[in-house]
Subunit: 239 residues, 6 copies
């Protein structure tokens, strides 16, 4: 039934390639099928001004798409002079999701910025960004530990994300672009390694969804996130 | 347990005052307790450029807060020269929620803009905005019908929204500012009159929430939205 | 002769409603007929940077119109990314007018911002804003006095404003929208309680005006401002 | 009494140099003493979009100061990315003043833009800009006539401007920078050749001004504008 | 003498990987050592407005650096709301260089946009971008030919670029970051396959350079560009 | 052969008028034929933030064109809200060129800003700006010396600039607008008084240029720059 021939509860091949570039404290290429997002974690020893002297650090995220990461070329946001609402929505989501597994006191008065730049888009860029940013964050934290800059572990859990949706009347896992553009409902789910929800964002595009459909989607998401977390671990992301 | 003394499943007093201002085709003051949002619906007989000649109309929303609608004065977005990410996120949410109950073909090649401006903020401004915008939209559609500009009814359902959350470990309904700033989880829920979900946006601020907590919040939301829809009808919003 | 049936020297009903919203130190709904402007005064205990350490405070103003406060919807300035020239002109006028009755040394190193937001426009929004902002300023100053934050009274006079114009060849007082859009000359006058001029801004829209017409307009303005000041006092604005 | 030794009703030397640059249809250096403003008039055979097909033209103005036209260097507006409120206020004033002497139907469907750029500032830049822009406008209109592009004369009068003020308690004419920065009241007056007012903008900087002071200032302005109009004619500005 | 141990006239390993991403008509990863630039060519069947109906096409370029492509994280231009001067300078250079080998009439009324995004920076990003963009352009032109959209070959030559400089008193070829940040002179040279110059941009950072130094640098550049062109061909870039 | 009748190696009349305006520490009108650029040097006793406490100063430049300095009116950059790429490119070039002859340690912790504003454009505005800015810089440095603010001479050489190009197949010196708009190659050359290159920026507009053409252009430039330096000295620019 799915254009890709996948089963209803089947993820695309998920892969996290660490050290994809050299300068960043963490640098991970996250791939969900043809969706490829470069996630870097940059440590800045200065805290943002509004946190100065409060004994805590901060984790934030920025998101962008290369103009031709998409089927048709999109205008470059830097050239247009502003980020779209969608971009801001996504980077706020990534930031909140990562902060949910960080002890900001333990991080100390410094900031980690997660830059998630989409090299190729085929649906699910925000979920791939979250999962990849977590791996990059682990590497940045490992870097801080190795340098003796943090004493307690700032990481208090792990995080991964996946999309689910209703496609031609059926709940499915990990929508690609063709599915996404036709789906009646699209839901992005972020969970931690305790199986609890960090974010849940569901939108009915075509027709509103019912409680039982929600239930089925949650089950799919839980399965998918478990598999993605396994890939994160396989990539060696242990801060 | 709640600072306001409300029961766990108790809404604040909800009120919709129609014809709050005179010029707009629909103008509603939506109040959820001390939260007051002025929602106007403006009909523009021109469709946005990208819809020209497609035989469909459009419904969109804009959101703003008066600088001193809040406890501390916020900078005026018009003076800063851009809308914040939060503002864009909210106005996109309002627009999607309203479009979910509109048949854009029946609306015809015209646009309705819903302006939701917060006069006073005490938590839940986006949910009050959605519920109030729906009432304003009804008045604008009634205006179109009366003028003979639409033949079929563009409204295919009704919509209302409420927030739920986990506060001091308990699921509660319709958070006010004091509750919201302390809540561990905050979820905004938009439903239609068939009891189905249009939007579901849950965020764990402090600790991640579990499936059973989600379930309890959904029950509270359903109850609250039913009561809000009754107030919408009582206000006479029948397009 | 006037569309509204008013006499040539007759104001619209003028009303100042204090405590219109709760958070601000001063909050006043100013109404000149159907023109309704929400004026809030916000105290900020920080002075602007360029006044730091100079022993003086500052009073400033910002002005905005809700998009559908007007007959036709206007684009939202926050969405367009900048304030129009007209907006800046008006907020500068409001700020200067209010500063004319404030002893900035007595105010001390703090800033009061007057936000004037038009809920409904029917001509004369800037004059209603000035008169209403004065009442809000009084309440904010009373708040400072009560809190023991100022020793000397920072208010050295009162201020009110009204428009006059030449309409179909006759000088008239307090133009509403229909009169304003047709007037040959439009003049905004700001005076203090000593009967002296703080601002005088006259513009010939259609044909230039002569000295005798100017004289007649000044007489109307003086009468109108006296009546508006009586309403300000009736509203209880005594700092 | 005046720092410059001028009499109370004495203008600075006023001079209009036509053809100051070569490309524009009108190009005039306007000097009021040390204040030097380059005013060019540019004809554009396209009308602004909102006037298309209405059988009328438009006259508009833009104003700028070179960064070091002033005693201390000011930031360049193009580099800061926006025009200040003062700039917008002035260019709107110049535009309105010039349109007051133009028959836009006779001008036909074209636009004339008056660019007023201050090379050196010593008070009164906006009044010098208006008087100089008028001379440049005359040359542009003469150009249109000569080219046979207009049949009726679009100019229906002439316009000039001057500042007056209260300085150390005395009304004075044509304030220079030292006077302006100390003046208690500052008023810009724009008149036509029939002796009628086009614009009147008075601001009390220090103490409010009384009706008799206003009267004295108007007499000074009338005298000054007469002399400036004589210089405009001497420069040969006869369209 | 060089930090990398390279000979004075030795390029870093140069590599062009075609089809690096899938959506674009041309997509090439250009590598000059550790400098990695993703160059995509996007065909737009609409010509820019100012070329409409002129029977010619256009080739343009945009350039960006991922925030952590550099040693220290740079602010994201999209978030700051504008492109830096350096960025604009580089994208104008890339555009001019590519247009120098395109027959715009033969291209027809369409536009090709070359997006050059730096994934990792180690000196020479603009020269790698030009050489890589040429390969991507070839693939986009091949795509147009295959689709029968162009009749004559729009490519009238090939183009490549390299930097040269004076480092510790010696002319060297293809500076990496460590060399570049210390160089006394830095020159970017763009040549075509006929051995002629398309662009020559030399800047003395420390001390001015003499004619004989210029001569030596030109010899190095010519050698380097020959080798780079060989790599372009080896990558199969034959439109 | 040249439209102006000039010989191939003949400059336009070059003139530097010092003290063109009064407020700046240096103010020079630079004329290359009909090209007229007002160059002012402004001393700011504060260093830019990133140089604070480093014992060095800074020299920077800004460039602008009056809207009607050109044949057709150009949009005002301040009104459009941003500087074009070309503007930024030019002001960066001017800044680098001037810094090449300044000892920033000797200048001390202060900044000199060179504002180059084009009053009339007829080709070669950037080269006239550089040569004129140098004369203004000399006057500003003389001002600092006279005031005893610098001990060592911050000027370590002199700088001038000229354009050369290939026009109808022949190398020519100092292109005016008509030549420039038709030239096949355009090269801007900045040299110091030791005959060495500070900047070299050559662009092939039509066809690429060969090494021998480059050689001929360099000879022309050297001759022209010698003559311009003589005019700089004749103007009395000896700091």
């Amino acid at each position: 039934m799915r254009p890709s021939g996948r089963a209803i509860d089947e993820l695309r091949p998920v892969r996290f390639t660490r050290n994809f570039t050299e300068h960043a404290e963490g640098s991970v290429l996250a791939e969900y099928g043809k969706t490829r997002v470069l996630c870097t974690a940059s440590v800045d020893e200065r805290t943002p001004p509004w946190l100065k002297g409060k004994g805590r650090g901060w984790v934030t995220a920025e998101y962008g798409m290369l103009p031709r990461s998409t089927h048709d070329r999109m205008p470059r946001e830097a050239a247009r002079g502003k980020q779209q609402g969608r971009t801001q929505e996504i980077q706020r989501l990534i930031g909140r999701s990562l902060r949910a597994v960080v002890n900001l006191e333990a991080l100390g008065e410094r900031q980690i910025t997660l830059d998630c730049d989409v090299l190729q888009a085929d649906g699910g860029t925000r979920t791939a960004a979250i999962s990849g940013a977590y791996v990059a964050l682990c590497d940045a934290v490992a870097h801080l530990k190795k340098a003796g800059l943090v004493r307690r572990d700032p990481l208090i859990g792990s995080v991964a994300a996946v999309s689910v949706g209703i496609y031609r009347g059926h709940p499915i896992l990990d929508l690609d672009y063709r599915e996404d553009s036709e789906a009646e409902t699209d839901m992005n789910i972020v969970m931690n390694d305790a199986g609890a929800f960090i974010e849940l964002q569901g939108t009915a595009e075509g027709h509103a969804f019912h409680k039982n459909e929600l239930q089925e989607m949650l089950v799919l998401a839980e399965k998918g996130i478990g598999e993605i977390m396994a890939e994160q671990q396989a990539a060696g992301s242990t801060a």
